[in-house]
Amino acid sequence: MSGDQESNSKPADPFESFRAIRDAYLDAMAKTMVEAVNTEAYAQASGAMLEGTLTAVTPFREAMEKSVTKALEQLSLPSRQELAILAERFTHVEMRLDDMDMKLDRIEKILSRARSAPGPAEKDASQTSVSQQAARPTGVKAPATANRTTARRRFVPAKKTKAMGK
């Protein structure tokens, strides 16, 4: 009885009856295909096909690019290439800013070390001012570094991807 119930609750699967045959066929096919793609003939054929396709498409692509560039020029709009150049320049500026940030980090680290371990000559002269500055131990982030780091950090909450079908 329970067996009847189980068979009734199973979904009707049109592939059920020949699953074993299917798997055996796929296994054999998989081995053959792995061998086939690992041959010089396949490499040659796929290379030739790719080259043929790209060569055939190139004149159309170039013509299309030219006409789009011309149309954009007429409309006083930047082309894809021009936007790419602009983006490249932005990256360079970003890189320079990052360089400055790294330099500031180093300067702050040096200053932090100097404050926590004053030399014997300056020890007497600046005893009062150093003690006023409440020296930080080595390795502790200077406030400015911490501020810059915190300002740059942004909390990224768990991504909410739409779960469909529920």
Binding site: A30, V37, G47, A48, V156, K159, T161
Partner: protein, 355 residues
């Protein structure tokens, strides 16, 4: 004669299965859910710090930086809640950072491996050290990410890299008969200049096709049969859905970096021969001194084991280990067995070297 009783149940279940199939094939699963902060960015690259979950006194001092490939999303490292390497490592007390290279645009077509390894990576490392307040760090590179971390480790051996973990690292290209990719991209057959002239960057779809064509029946047929056979098992369905979401999210590879990968590595094996030149300097693998763990997937068809073994004899590191594990290129880190095998081994190795 009694009329036959026709149950509507099988039809209802069939309808349910088809609905599940439709959902899985037409929607994206929620992946990369572990909370994180953006702590640095440059161009398309972003450095994230995951919100620590272990109490402060139980955390390791040395932070861990994860570096994935440049032509796939790094979300595979944080696939789904309850099955995420990042989540696992956070739970074990690591301060985890992830460098996401982002998707290159046309403006990035001249970006080379040099730029990734010696311009972006050192800046991210600097930020990791500044935030964690330590001069030392561990770095895990996976796939092409392992090439980049290896170049970095060889070129910047004095910047505090204590532990280097390489997962399925394609570093040695000497065994050309064992590498199907090497055969496909041979200069006799593959017109690299035409491809890059046409597209600028190497399109993600072409890279994806290349990876799948290595095992066409498994990737284009058996994979879907497995889903069909298990449509009644929510665990298998959700796992398949998450993996499919990651697999189908392809990004292009920067043109110049792709050219280097093909010409310098696949065709001429320059990295392993210590002949690769980046930023005008030769990459000498013997300069790597960090503790080294190399993880090899025995059944890897994308990076066969022969590509990752030789590195151990090239470095100067005193503390080295090769960990060979059954499984495929992605499966060893994101498969159902990873939590019991690969992750605990990485944790065990790293914990002893992170204090």
């Amino acid at each position: 004669m009694e009329p036959a009783v026709v149950s509507a149940e099988p039809l209802r279940l069939m309808e349910e299965r088809l609905r599940t199939l439709n959902r899985v094939l037409t929607t994206k699963a929620p992946i990369a859910q572990t909370p994180k902060e953006l702590v640095w960015s440059l161009n398309k690259s972003k450095l994230y710090r995951y919100v620590p979950t272990a109490p402060e006194h139980e955390r390791y001092r040395i932070p861990l930086l994860l570096v994935f490939a440049i032509m796939n999303r790094p979300s595979i490292l944080d696939l789904r809640p309850g099955h995420s390497f990042v989540e696992f490592m956070l739970g074990r007390g690591y301060d985890v950072y992830l460098l996401d290279w982002g998707a290159p645009g046309l403006e990035d077509r001249e970006m080379k491996l040099d730029d990734y390894a010696l311009e972006y990576l050192p800046r991210a490392v600097h930020r990791v050290k500044a935030i964690s307040g330590t001069e030392e760090f561990s770095m895990l590179g996976w796939c092409i990410g392992a090439i980049l971390t290896t170049i970095y480790a060889a070129m910047r051996p004095d910047e505090g890299l204590r532990n280097l973990l390489l997962l399925t690292a394609p570093l040695d290209f000497s065994n050309r008969n064992g590498l199907t990719f090497a055969r496909w991209v041979d200069e006799k057959y593959f017109n690299l200049d035409l491809v890059l002239e046409t597209f600028g960057n190497m399109p993600g779809e072409m890279i994806d096709y290349g990876a799948k064509a290595l095992k066409p029946v498994e990737n284009y047929i058996s994979n879907y049969c497995k889903l069909w056979d298990n449509l009644d098992d929510p665990r298998v369905v959700e796992s398949w859905h998450a993996m499919n979401t990651w697999v189908t999210d392809n990004i292009p590879m920067a043109g110049a970096a792709y050219r280097q990968l093909i010409v310098e590595l696949y065709r001429n094996n320059r990295l392993m021969k210590n002949e690769l030149v980046v930023r005008g300097d030769r990459v000498d693998l013997s300069r790597i001194r960090a503790n080294l763990l190399t993880v090899i997937a025995a059944g890897d068809h994308i990076t066969p084991p022969c590509q990752s073994e030789a590195i151990l004899s090239k470095v100067s590191s005193r503390d080295t280990e090769l960990f060979r594990i059954p499984g495929g290129h992605i499966g060893i880190m994101a498969g159902s067995g990873a939590r019991q095998t690969t992750w605990p081994h990485i944790d065990g190795w790293l914990s002893a070297r992170s204090r």
